[in-house]
């Protein structure tokens, strides 16, 4: 009999809470059904007078009903808070921009240097650096470009007035001087990369800049351990990683005084895959840079014995790759300091 009554109280309570239209009526219901003077409280209080068997039978039922009603009361309270609020009066315009805390932008050349460094360091390469203000010795003589040799004309050089200095200084025309600087203090085997700013005394136009960046890679081991085939492999590995697709390397004979043999290296066109397109002038190949097996005279300049070691060096200009990747039509934009340009990247 009392069990039925408890069910009734519960059903009625649930209905009353769910139907409460405002907090006052909900609160009134709460006092009426759960307050000290409520019927349920009466029943709860009466539980202590029951026999142990009855307690076991009724106790959980009554407690359960009270918890259920308390939950219903809480749910009704939250429902009324949501329903009862004038949300519209609180509306803000979320489409307007946030507080002005803009993200800065890295220079696209910096971004590319990082990408390249990351690939090479994954391959176990060390990053080396050297001065931009370089001596004639490291930039030329040590690299087998003797004074009064026409090979000097291959790189138009900015010379620094060097009266009062112990030797003649210039702005490095390539990153290769770092080869000798590094080798002077290290013994093969090693593999390094050298990124850096270089200079050529050339008039600027949309595709020429007197200040640009090069990337150089040098791998040296015992004679026979580092070969032309290995260079091709590294070239293909690097450029395939870099472009995210399979790239082939093609070597053509060339001449740089600090390598022997010397190569121009092309990569299969990353746009058309070698089929021929405007970017590769329909040849299927893109000219990328120069490379070669390190001249023994360069090893000698670094203090290595002639013939003991063998290695390859290769380098390429970064701006060309940046321009290709970002579709930048004029190289001069890169050194322009124009933030409208920088903020695009």
């Amino acid at each position: 009999m009392r069990i039925e009554r408890i069910s009734e109280i519960l059903e009625e309570g649930k209905r009353a809470f769910s139907e409460a239209a405002d907090e006052a009526s909900r609160s009134e219901t709460e006092v009426r059904l759960l307050g000290r003077k409520s019927e349920l409280s009466e029943i709860l209080r009466g539980l202590k007078d029951l026999s142990p068997e009855e307690k076991r039978e009724f106790g959980p039922v009554v407690q359960g009903a009270r918890r259920a009603l308390e939950e219903a009361a809480a749910a009704a309270k939250e429902r009324l808070l949501v329903e009862g609020r004038d949300w519209e009066s609180e509306r803000i315009d979320v489409s307007l921009p946030g507080a002005d805390d803009p993200l800065g932008h890295l220079h696209p050349v910096t971004t590319m240097i990082r990408e390249i460094e990351d690939i090479f360091t994954r391959l176990g390469f060390e990053i080396a650096e050297g001065p931009e203000l370089e001596t004639e010795f490291y930039n030329f003589d040590a690299l087998n470009v003797p004074a009064d040799h026409p090979a000097r004309d291959m790189q138009d050089t900015f010379f620094v007035e060097s009266d009062g200095f112990d030797t003649r200084y210039l702005l490095r025309t390539h990153t290769s001087p770092v080869q000798v600087r590094y080798m002077e203090t290290h013994t093969p085997p090693f593999r390094i990369i050298v990124p850096g700013r270089v200079f050529r005394n050339e008039s600027t136009d949309a595709s020429h800049e007197h200040t640009f960046h090069q990337f150089e890679s040098l791998v040296v081991g015992e004679t026979g351990d580092v070969t032309v085939g290995h260079f091709k492999h590294l070239g293909e590995t690097f450029f395939s990683e870099f472009f995210g697709r399979h790239v082939e390397v093609r070597l053509r004979p060339s001449y740089f005084p600090f390598v022997e043999p010397g190569f121009e290296f092309d990569i299969s066109c990353v746009l058309c895959g070698g089929a021929g397109c405007p970017a590769c002038k329909r040849t299927g190949w893109l000219e990328v840079g120069g490379a070669g097996m390190v001249q023994q005279k360069v090893f000698e300049a670094a203090g290595y014995p002639r013939g003991k070691y063998q290695g390859f060096a290769w380098g390429f200009g970064l701006e060309r790759l940046v321009m290709m990747k970002r579709r930048i039509p004029d190289i001069r934009l890169l050194m322009s300091g124009d933030l409208r340009f920088i903020r695009q990247f």
Partner: protein
């Protein structure tokens, strides 16, 4: 060098098409820059036969001719003004529609009432010379109707081959490139044949040659008489034109033609001008020489000259003098076929800023051997074409080039290319290049001809074999290298972190030139100016100085960006170059931060906040900001009272603050600019010690705001430190606000947190501590509690 395909084919025996030949050269020898039809501009010009020549009815100087331009075709009427036109001549006829090299387009026209269908051409109109005295008359056997360009040999393809300095000795010549082509195609090449010079030395009336400088290795001198100076035959002019040289006259054309063929520069002197004695010597300092191009040069004792008894007549290997040059009246020619020292020619050419075909070749080495064949051809051509006779000849040699020997192990091929190379094939290939190989046990002994001075060791020979096989033949292989953990370059890593941090904090990265103007250097102050370095060969005066600071260029960039943006901040991490304390050049990587703030922002606060955060990111806390001041300690680019010298523990960290208004104005900036220049190495001063745990405070702090009124001379930073030290209960002092008052004092408000390690600080304790602080600080700074 521009090479005629036809000429190369004739010499080398290749049967490849121009394109195929270019590919062969490209993948085995040299870069081919272009393969293009020779732009003769003579389409529509054909060989014609003049039938009749009648006077023009209405013009005395004009003639009306009929010319057959098609075998069996009807003759066309052409009005012609040339005095030498005559019936029966074979001539070059530009048909209507043709566009000539001089820009003239031929149309059907009426000339003084007579219809004219085409034009009979003079040499200059055909781009073959300067002669406009009359029409060009062709040999009688010229076939009627064929294209004129083909008839004179201008129907050709030109290969522009980039011969790099190492191969200048042999390959800057048709003989050299033809030898290369034959070798690449697997054929031996029959080089040019030399005959002994025709007459004995020093007969009566001859020229004597004396070499008194070791910078002349060989000097062949041939004296011709009875030279008929004339216009060169068409075939020779066509040959020069196709290789990019301009025909000038027979004697000089012969020397140029033979230079192209053999790579041996020659010079023709008017023998009547130079006299009987020729000496090759060093110039005397200050001697002058006026050159063929009209320039007058003052010689250095480092210059090698050809001289007669009285004076220099040529700058050896570079250019001849104008007085002794060939003229139309020359009948006796002294021909020089010489070999000069490479670096001597190079230095002279550089010193006097003259680059000639001759100096270009001599700089790249010309071996002494090739003068023989060149002299043989010269005698033949002067005899055949100029009707000349040899009077005398001499051959003086101070140093003859001899073949070089290289002893080496053929294992070099495998070491280099990591591939199986057939050694007998390698030997054969070297043979085609003129390198003979004999075996000596397991070693090879290679004999290298003097025209290949670039081959000096085994690696050079390996390259020859490798490129002749073709680099495509060597597969890409993964190297087997020891597993080593690469050394991490701390400087590179720090630069990376720095750039990323700044970009994430809202700074845009720019890159600017390493040069600026002298004015920029001056603005940095006289001390800094004196430490600047200057380029000896700048692009322009605005870029003549190596930057001693990044700021000048950055301020220029501020002005440029201000045109489009009103609020921005950028940075550059780049090197500056100054003469160091030791008197030598020093290069230092600097971080330059530049900010232009909105009007309602406290620009200095923004900058200081950003710089402080940057230092914190690099582990540098409690950086001291010392006011700059004027005079001693001033920084020319910065505002003397709104900028600071930064340091930590006495170590310099840079300068930061407002750019001095007059400097900003000098760079065309209206408004305020904030900047910081921080040595990159300063950011790497943090000891990198591992930070260990400190116990967290267990009891809550009590905070009190304290507003003190002080004179403006009191530095807030000092006040803040003093507060922190005034009571042991102080756990934190934070600056809240400042208020400038009309009486010249100001209020500074600090929020102070009080705490105790073992218990909660009571309100009473906090009040007592505040009173303590007011008492101590008030005494030291003459500060009072603000009302």
């Amino acid at each position: 060098m521009k090479f005629s395909y036809n000429w190369l084919r004739e010499l080398s025996g290749t049967t490849k098409s121009p394109k195929e030949l270019a590919e062969l050269i490209m993948f085995h020898a040299f870069e081919v820059e272009s393969v293009e039809k020779f732009p003769h501009g003579l389409d529509g010009v054909v060989v014609g036969l003049v039938g009749t020549v009648e006077p023009h009815p209405d013009a005395d100087r004009l003639k009306v001719t009929t010319v057959t331009t098609e075998t069996g075709g009807a003759p066309r009427t052409i009005v012609c003004g040339a005095p030498n036109v005559a019936a029966g001549q074979k001539v070059a006829v530009a048909l209507p529609g043709a566009s000539l090299p001089n820009g003239l387009t031929i149309k059907e026209a009426k000339i003084r009432g007579v219809a004219s269908s085409g034009m009979i051409c003079a040499e200059d109109e055909l781009g073959l010379g300067s002669d406009h005295d009359g029409i060009l008359v062709l040999p009688d056997d010229a076939p009627i109707g064929i294209p004129f360009s083909g008839y004179v040999g201008l129907e050709d393809t030109i290969l522009d081959v980039n011969i790099l300095p190492n191969r200048g000795c042999d390959a800057l010549s048709y003989v050299g490139l033809a030898r290369e082509i034959a070798a690449l195609e697997g054929r031996a090449f029959d080089g040019p044949v030399a005959s002994p010079l025709p007459t004995q030395e020093k007969p009566k009336g001859g020229v004597t040659v004396e070499i008194v400088s070791d910078r002349c290795r060989r000097y062949v001198g041939i004296l011709f008489e009875g030279v008929r100076e004339a216009v060169s035959p068409l075939w020779m002019r066509a040959a020069l034109l196709r290789s990019g040289l301009r025909p000038v006259g027979l004697a000089v054309d012969i020397t140029n033609y033979l230079m192209l063929l053999h790579g041996q520069p020659m010079h023709a002197f008017d023998a009547d001008v130079i006299g009987k004695d020729v000496v090759i010597r060093q110039a005397e300092e200050g001697e002058t020489l006026s050159l063929l191009d009209g320039a007058e040069i003052s010689l250095s004792s480092e210059d090698l000259v050809i001289a007669d008894r009285k004076r220099p007549i040529a700058l050896a290997g570079v250019m001849g003098g104008d007085r002794s040059g060939i003229s139309s009246g020359t009948t006796r020619v002294f021909l020089e076929i010489a070999t000069f020292d490479t670096s001597s020619v190079r230095k002279s050419a550089k010193r006097h800023r003259i680059l000639t075909e001759a100096s270009y070749r001599f700089e790249r080495n010309v071996d002494t051997g090739r003068a023989d064949a060149a002299a043989t051809d010269a005698v033949r051509l002067f005899t055949e074409l100029c009707g000349a006779r040899v009077v005398s000849s001499s051959d003086s040699v101070t140093h003859a080039d001899v073949p070089a020997s290289i002893r080496f192990s053929p294992s070099v091929f495998r070491d280099m290319f990591d591939a199986d190379i057939d050694l007998s094939d390698a030997r054969e290939k070297l043979g085609y290049l003129g390198v003979s190989v004999s075996e000596d046990g397991s070693e090879w002994l290679a004999t290298v001809p003097a025209y290949r001075p670039d081959l000096s060791d085994q690696w050079d020979l390996a390259e020859e074999v490798g490129r002749m096989i073709g680099y495509d033949a060597f597969p890409a292989r993964s190297p087997l290298l020891p597993l080593v953990s690469p050394h991490v370059n701390a400087s590179v890593s720090a630069a990376r972190d720095l750039r990323r941090f700044l970009a994430d904090s809202g700074w845009d990265e720019i890159m600017t030139y390493s040069f600026y103007s002298e004015e920029d250097a001056h603005r940095l102050g006289s001390e800094a100016y004196s430490r600047h370095m200057r380029l000896s060969n700048p692009m322009n005066p605005d870029q003549a100085f190596l930057r001693g600071s990044l700021l000048p260029t950055h301020l220029r960039k501020v002005a440029e960006n201000r045109r489009f943006l009103d609020r921005f901040r950028f940075f550059e991490l780049g090197d500056r170059y100054l003469i160091g304390r030791d008197g030598g050049p020093s290069e230092e990587r600097m971080l330059s931060l530049v900010a232009v703030s909105a009007k309602d922002e406290k620009g200095f606060d923004v900058l200081k906040g950003a710089v402080t955060k940057l230092f914190a990111a690099f582990g540098l806390e409690n950086v001291d900001w010392e006011p700059l001041g004027q005079g001693e300690g001033a920084e020319p680019f910065f505002h003397p009272t709104r900028a600071a010298r930064l340091s930590v523990g006495g170590a310099f960290l840079g300068i930061a603050g407002e750019i001095a208004p007059h400097i900003a104005e000098a760079y065309g900036i209206r408004g305020v600019v904030y900047a910081a220049e921080i040595p990159f190495d300063a950011l790497r001063r943090s000891t990198g010690e591992v930070v260990t745990y400190s116990p967290l405070p267990r009891f809550p702090f009590a905070t009190r705001d304290l507003t003190l009124s002080v004179s403006r001379a009191v530095r807030g930073g000092d006040l803040s430190s003093a507060i922190a030290e005034a009571s042991i209960l102080v756990r934190d002092v934070r600056f809240v606000d400042t208020y400038e008052k009309a009486d010249g004092t100001r209020n500074l408000t600090f929020r102070i947190a009080f705490g105790h390690d073992d218990r909660t600080v009571t309100g009473e304790e906090a009040e007592m501590a505040v009173a303590d602080i007011v008492a101590r600080v008030g005494e030291r700074f003459d500060a009072t509690l603000a009302g």
